[in-house]
Each structure stands twice: as C-alpha cells, then as structure tokens.
C-alpha cells in the first residue's frame, strides 16, 4: 500500500496578528509549522503503516509539499515521525499559485512519487530507517522493510485500474483545510484531477480492507459512515488523531534519508498550469476590514444592564 500525505507549511498561528495602530501584520519571528490538519493526516497514515507492519505487510507513506526550500525541514520531521520518504516541490515557477495551480503541482508530485526512481529511493530509505532504528526500545516491532516500490502497483491492479506509467497511490490524505488559507479545496481538486472518489472532513478511519476504505465523516446532514473504493482521497479533521512526536531513532534515521527537492521541470509540470500563470484567480485588492468602534458600554447596576439586554432581545424578535 502506498499513501501520499500532502502537507502545507503555515505560519505558526499566534504569528498572524494585526498591529491595531498601523493595520499591518505583525510577525514575531517567521517560524513555520506543518498545518495542524495535515499533521493529523500524517498521523492517520502512520497509524495505518504501523498496523500494516504489525500484520507483516508493507506500507509506504510519502510526505509531499509545495513550498519554499525551508519547507524541507518540516518534511524531514515527517520522516523522523515515521514517513518512508518525502518530496518537496520548490521552484519560483510555483509561486503565486492559487488552489487550482497548487493542486496541479501536487498532482505532478504524486505522479513523481509513483515513478520507479522515487519508489526505489523510498525502498532504500526505508531500509536505512530500519537499520537505524533496529537498536531502538522496541526491537521486536516489525519495521517497514516490506514496503517495496511494487506494492502500490499490485495495490491498484487489484481493482483493475493499473495504468501504464507511474502508479498512483492507494490513498491520498490531506488536512481538511489549511489554517491560513481556509479554502478546503485542495483535497477535492486532487480527487478531481485523478478521478478518484473523495471523502471530506473525515472524523474516524474505520477500516481499510479489500480495496475499500470505510470512514466516518461530517456532512451537512450529520455524521455519515461511508465506504469508497481505493484509490481515494480523504481530507481529515484536526482532531482525528493526535500527532506523535518524532523518536530519537527516527530523527537520526531521517538525517540519512534524502528529502527529494524537485523543480517544476523535474516533475514535468506544465508552466502554463503552474504558479501565477496557472492561477485563474488574482487578488486585486486587500484591505483591513472596518470594525465597529461604536460599542456602547451598558452602565448601571446588573439588573439595569439585564433589562437593556432583554430590550435588545425584544427588538430582535423575542
């Protein structure tokens, strides 16, 4: 089984503050973190990998991002937590991408991860990790040495969809949304690009078996239990899983695993569909919203204040 987890580097949330006087954005340090929704998606993938490993089956978890070169550190952290390999798409040609161009770039990365060369790198990376972690506190735990590049090919051929060229992953996991952009578009757009079924806002992964995945997810009507055939795209809620911390052995192993950093040309991304050029939407104006500064303080005793509030409720139709 091959799982690709798409992650985005976002500013650590407290960082995005407005200076009330100058109306400019205050940045205390420029630390980036993995979008917490994506961190939860990675944890879901790693839990599947652990479960498969315990059953003696292979599972490759690839972490994928598009971002500035510094994002490499966040991907390496993903490997330290247990991912098999990582790919960073980093190129000025990707800059200014809206969600359409971002999902396109990620789709190129996903194809690249399924290519033979990336698969081999993952296999060797996985074995390195196994070597490095063999002295860890859980010597009896089966590791991911069985994660072979061919595993995802056999995974897809089970349901007769294996196409020539790079194999697609069995599962693409994304956070439901990014805390900075909040568009929640990337997951469904990836599903559209690969013509895969998609389940959004997943709260619980119930089972993966016989080429199908069963999940509970939030819909307008309530929490639904649904089943979709693999390969599929799932976007997860933040509270679906508590991300694990990297182990010391994992950190050491991750230091030896190369994070592939590839340009747009390397993943054969069409320049016309990448970055600003491939983005139909443009920000034409940004401005600070007007705030109500006409707040009236209700003075007087508590009973007087309460009476005023009730009068307001009556105005609002009580």
């Amino acid at each position: 089984m091959h799982i690709v987890v798409c992650v985005k580097a976002v500013p650590s949330s407290t960082e995005v503050k407005m200076d009330p006087v100058t109306h400019t954005i205050v940045r205390d340090g420029r630390e980036s973190v993995v979008n917490p929704f994506d961190a939860a998606a990675l944890e879901v993938a790693l839990a599947i990998k652990d479960e498969r490993a315990a059953a003696g089956e292979g599972c490759r978890v690839s972490v994928l991002s598009m971002g500035i070169p510094a994002t490499e550190a966040l991907l390496r952290d993903g490997i330290a937590r247990g991912a098999s390999d990582a790919l960073l798409l980093s190129d000025r040609a990707f800059a200014g991408a809206d969600t359409l161009a971002t999902s396109y770039a990620l789709s190129c990365g996903i194809r690249e991860l399924g290519s033979a060369s990336m698969g081999d790198a993952a296999a060797s990376g996985a074995s390195e990790q196994r070597t490095a972690s063999s002295g860890s506190a859980a010597p009896g735990t089966p590791e991911d040495g069985t994660a072979m590049p061919g595993s995802s090919v056999s995974g897809t051929s089970e349901h007769g969809e294996s196409a020539p060229g790079p194999s697609l992953p069995d599962l693409i996991l994304c956070g439901k949304m990014a805390v900075d952009g909040d568009t929640a578009q990337i997951g469904p757009e990836l599903a559209g690009l690969f013509d895969m079924p998609c389940v959004t806002d997943v709260r619980e992964l119930v089972a993966i078996e016989r080429g199908r995945v069963t999940v509970r997810h939030a819909t307008d009507a309530g929490i639904e239990l649904v089943e979709v055939p693999l390969p599929a795209v799932l976007t997860v809620a933040k509270d679906i899983a508590q991300p694990r911390m990297p182990s010391i052995a994992g950190v050491r192993a991750a230091a030896g695993v190369p994070v592939a950093v590839l340009s747009a040309a390397c993943v054969q991304a069409d320049p016309a569909r990448s970055g600003l050029a491939g983005s139909p939407t443009q920000v034409v104006r940004s401005f600070v919203p007007e705030r109500s500064d006409t707040c009236e303080v209700l003075e007087g005793s508590v009973p007087q204040q309460a009476a005023r509030i009730i009068a307001l409720a009556e105005e609002a139709g009580l």
Binding site: R291, S292, A313
Partner: protein
C-alpha cells in the same frame, strides 16, 4: 516568467512593503526592496507601496486558455437540499444575491437543482424565487451527497450552456462539490466570499473573502477564465423577502421555467453511505437569536445556566472552539473560522474573549452584545453593546428577569 518586480528608480526603501507582507516575502536591503523565496505574489506589497515601485509581472503566454469570454452569460446558483429533500436556506440567500448581480449585469439567474425527489415541488419553489429558469434533474443517483455524481451533471450542463458565474453554498457538500467542478472546468474558485459584486461591463465578479482569519479582506477576480466560481457560507447574505415570499407562496408569481436535464447514464456513485447519525438540535447558522459562550463562563457547571438563558431567549446556543475541544459542547455548536458562520439578529456573547478565528464567524450578526470581565477583550471591538462584568452574575439576573416576565 511571472514575478514580483521592484522599480529601483522609484523604490525609496521605506519598508512599508516589508511590514505589509504576511509571508516575509519581501525585504528592504540597502534602501531597496527585494522579494524573497517566501513571496507568494499575493500583491499585498503592491498595495502598500506609496510610490508605485512594485508590480507583478504576469507571464502572458500562460494567461488563460484563450477562451472567448463573451460566449459566457448568466449567473447560476447551484441548489442543495437537506436529508428530507427540502431546499437549504442558503439557496435563497444565494438567489437573492444573484438577482442583485444579474440586474447590475443585465443577465439572468438560473438555478440548478439536482435531487432525488424526496420532497415534493422543490423545483417549483425555486422557480418562484424570481429566477428565470430552473435546470432540474430528479435521479436516485443524486440521493446521497456524492460530489462526483453532481460534478459530472453540472459540468456537462456548464460546458453546454456556459454560465458566466456559478455560486455555491459553502456547506460541507458545497465545499467539496465546487472544487471538483472548478478543476474539471479548469477555472478559478473563491471560497467563503463575504461580499460579491459585479462589473456591469465586463461581468467580472469581485469576490471578497477574509484572509488571515478576518484580519485582512482580499478581493479576488478571475479575469481570463469562465465560469467564475464562488462559494458563500450560509448566513452571510440575507435572503430578500421577495425571494423567500415566492418560495413559500406556492408558485403564484411569474415563475421561471423549469427545464429537465438528465444525468448521463454512465455516471455511477462511488461513495456508499452505510449509516448516518443525524445532527440533533437546531442549526446555529440559521438562528435568529444566538447565545455564544466562551471560556470566560468559568466552568462546565455554569453551562446549564447558559442553556437556560438560551431557552428563555428562544435562542440557539453556540460556543467557541476551546469549549468544543474541552468536550463541553459538541462541534455542531462551534462558531468561528473552523465552525459555523452565523448571522443572527441578536448575538449575546458571554465570556468570549474574541480570538480572531472566532470573530471571523460572527461578522454577519446584526447586533452583538458582549458580556466579559475584561474590558480590553477584543470581543468589545466588534460588539455593539458591552457589559463589563461577571458572566454568571449577569446571566443569573437575565434569567430571573426573563422568568418573571413569563
């Protein structure tokens, strides 16, 4: 290649661009601005520059697929029904806004309704809202919210009829459906718009949405691609009375025509619904009056007091994210950027400090009364009326007066 250009002859090194940038994407060195790797080409610095030294160059070769924009016309509203088959209120809110835009543009509004026919006469209800036409399909494959099934149906229609703009409710389903349609039609999509405007001449849809949790608003255009697509959260626009009156009055008005459009036979749902736990209780997004509680109510034992107040005010109860995370109330009650956007006539905010992410969800409220001990709490920055005091004390008094009144 596209990129951020700084005119060295104009740049005075004032650093306003550096301060305006949310990403660390531009720095001033030696009195000259220079973009860094972190630049996302968002254009924030272009606005901030007082001497017009910064511009964004676009690679014209990659600009759009050379579509003939004049071939696209009309504004489509993509309708959605609930589990019982009834149109969601957001549909009427969107129709109201679309009618306003269409009048400015001199075009028509077309509603698109795919349903499984669980409730009678929904297409007629929609046709009575003032839209020129309802494109309608009744098909069992549309029973469940499998976005791919809807995508194939809507895209086939859009390719044939070429709408200039398409509006979707930013419901859980709309937020999945709209991106799938956008990627298939290879066009732009703006999520969670809080304001929509149209250029009467070009038909350009001006889509305004909050960025950075509402700290900044961004107006977004989709200049070279059609249809232009936007989602709008429930409750952001009010449904005009003429729209709701038509919808309730049983199609006596000059109703729009209803066109049946079949779903292609090969379209097959892949998402199989095994079970569903329906949402219990009213929807906070649609509430007329809302009591929203935050950590400032002290402890969980004060929650019944807040529930009693909500009951007496005939209000729904909402809360901030920390209360959901602490397990005091479930997610259906959460108001804010990651919860529901609400638009009540009256919002009584109790013990809510007013984190930016929370404020992003209450912008639609008509009147906000905030009760908080901390006079400096940011919630007072958006409130119309402030009570600086102990939440429990004020609420206890409110309950006493309301009970005495009944």
């Amino acid at each position: 290649m596209s990129g951020l250009m700084v005119d060295a002859a104009r740049c005075v090194g004032c650093k306003r661009c550096e301060r305006a940038c949310a990403f660390g994407g531009i720095v001033v060195e030696g009195r000259l601005a220079r973009p860094t790797d972190a630049c996302t080409l968002c254009g924030g610095c272009v606005e901030a520059c007082p001497v017009d030294a910064i511009s964004i160059e676009r690679d014209e070769a990659g600009e759009g697929p050379g579509r003939d924009l004049s071939a696209y016309r009309d504004i489509w509203v993509i309708a959605q029904v609930d589990a019982e088959g009834a149109l969601l209120p957001v549909v009427f809110e969107l129709v109201g806004k679309a009618l306003e835009l269409a009048e400015a543009r001199g075009c028509q509004v077309v509603a698109v309704l795919g349903e499984a026919g669980r409730a009678p006469r929904q297409a007629e209800r929609l046709a009575a809202t003032g839209v020129a036409e309802v494109i309608h399909a009744v098909d069992e494959r549309l029973a469940h919210a499998d976005a791919e099934v809807f995508t194939q149906w809507i895209c086939a229609l859009a390719e044939e009829r070429r709408p200039e703009a398409m509006l979707f409710g930013a419901t859980a389903f709309g937020r999945e459906l709209a991106p799938r349609v956008a990627v298939r039609l290879q066009t732009g999509l703006t999520a969670d718009c809080t304001a929509l405007d149209i250029d009467p001449k070009t038909g350009a849809l001006l889509q305004t949405r909050p960025a950075f949790g509402g700290n900044l608003m961004a107006t977004i255009e989709c200049p070279a691609h059609r249809p232009q697509m936007a989602t709008v959260r429930p409750g952001v626009f009010a449904a005009p009375e003429c729209v709701t009156a038509g919808a309730g009055a049983g199609a006596d008005l000059a109703a729009g025509i209803i066109t049946q459009a079949l779903l292609a036979p090969e379209v097959a749902p892949r998402v199989i619904v095994l079970d569903i736990e329906p949402v219990i209780g009213g929807s906070i997004a649609q509430a007329e009056r809302l009591v929203v509680v935050g950590r400032g109510i002290g402890s969980k034992k004060n929650l019944p007091l807040m529930e009693r107040l909500a009951e007496l005010l005939h209000a729904e109860l909402g809360c901030t994210r920390p209360l959901v995370e602490a397990g005091w109330l479930d997610y259906a009650h959460q108001v804010g950027q990651t919860g529901a956007a609400v638009a009540p006539k009256l919002l009584v905010s109790i013990g809510v400090s007013g984190a930016i992410q929370h404020l992003a969800g209450i912008g639609g409220a008509e009147t906000v009364v905030a009760i908080n001990e901390d006079a400096a709490a940011p919630i007072f920055g958006v409130a119309d009326y402030a009570v600086v005091g102990d939440a429990v004390e004020v609420v206890t008094e409110l309950i006493a007066q309301l009970e005495a009144r009944n």
